[in-house]
């Protein structure tokens, strides 16, 4: 299946959880926030929220800014 990850098509081998996606991408779990189809997925729910085909996922972090 395919999701849209930060605006780009991203292939997944099967249905996985948000937590699994974060792990696959090798991200620091404490330093990212996630939106799924425009709704925030709280960190506490990453394990239970499963991704669906065509989901639009945004993963953001803090960067330098004024």
């Amino acid at each position: 299946m395919h999701i849209k990850l930060n605006g780009k098509a991203h292939a997944l081998e099967g249905q996985i959880s948000v937590a699994a996606l974060v792990e696959t991408l090798g991200l620091n779990v404490t330093q990212v926030a996630i939106e799924r189809n425009r709704d925030i997925v709280p960190r506490s729910r990453w394990g239970e929220v499963m991704l669906d085909d065509a989901d639009e996922i945004e993963i953001v972090k803090f960067i330098g800014g004024g």
Partner: protein, 262 residues
């Protein structure tokens, strides 16, 4: 000890600094340490999946040491700003945010001025949603009053266009805003050098927020230290209460007891 309170939290440094535009993370860290700032603004962006392993901002500026003030730079509508700050809240677990909704530039003559209508709309939504909103706005006392009425915890008028370094162009308006507001007023944007920061504080501002003045100085770390002193000096001068300005001279030494007088 002089301090100020915003959203129930006490801060001793009245200099707030941005974390953008520095050459690298090492310079960011050194300049911000030298500034003595306790609150630092940060932006929220998509992670770059192609650039794994780059040092994160949190590694360089630990959130245990600095209060992160997430901004909405790059947002042109209330909706974009609210969406960004909800992500920021999830990211940092902290309600204090800097709202800035700028108008889309239609020409090369960039002002980066706030879109007041969108800013007010975003402020209403965010306050209702439990955010503590520090609102970047223009130097208009009426907009400042409206933002305060909505429930913003700080009003942050611009001294001059963002990144211009022109200093405070309208001290009259900054003073009006300071006098009418019950919440802290901070000059945000336009500061170029130390005297600009001092002037902001002499006008009675509660603090100053800057980024480019440090990052684009020839020596950002030295300028950060200068700004730290400038803010303290301006604050102390404000508290001390300046002498009355006069149009003519008034000698400092006594006019009596002179040897050549009878």
């Amino acid at each position: 000890m002089d301090y100020f309170k915003v959203a129930g939290k006490t801060f001793h440094s009245r200099l707030l600094v941005g974390t953008g535009k520095y050459k690298n993370m090492a310079e960011t860290k050194a300049a911000i340490e030298a500034s003595g700032a306790e609150i630092v603004t940060v932006a929220i962006r998509r992670i770059d999946l192609a650039q794994k392993g780059e040092g994160s901002l949190q590694d360089v500026l630990p959130p245990s040491k600095y209060t992160y003030l997430p901004n909405t730079a790059g947002c042109y509508t209330a909706e974009e700003a609210v969406r960004t700050l909800r992500l920021a809240r999830e990211l940092g677990g902290w309600n204090l945010v800097k709202l800035e909704v700028l108008a889309k530039e239609m020409s090369a003559y960039k002002t980066l001025y706030p879109d007041v209508v969108e800013t007010l709309e975003a402020a209403r939504i965010l306050v209702k949603d439990g955010f503590d909103v520090m609102a970047y706005t223009n130097d208009d006392p009426i907009t400042a009053r409206k933002l305060e009425e909505i429930g913003c915890v700080a009003i942050m008028p611009l001294g001059a266009p963002i990144g211009s370094g022109l200093g405070i162009q309208n001290p009259l308006n900054i003073r009006m805003i300071v006098e009418q507001c019950k919440v802290p007023v901070l000059v945000d944007a336009g500061v170029g050098t130390a005297s600009d920061a001092t002037l902001a504080m002499e006008l009675g501002c509660c603090g100053v927020l800057m980024n480019t003045a440090l990052a684009e100085a020839q020596n950002p770390v030295l300028m950060a230290e200068a700004m730290k002193h400038a803010v303290i000096a301006g604050r102390q001068a404000f508290l001390a209460g300046r002498m009355q300005a006069k149009n003519y001279a008034d000698a400092s030494s006594p006019q009596t007891g002179l040897i050549h007088k009878a």
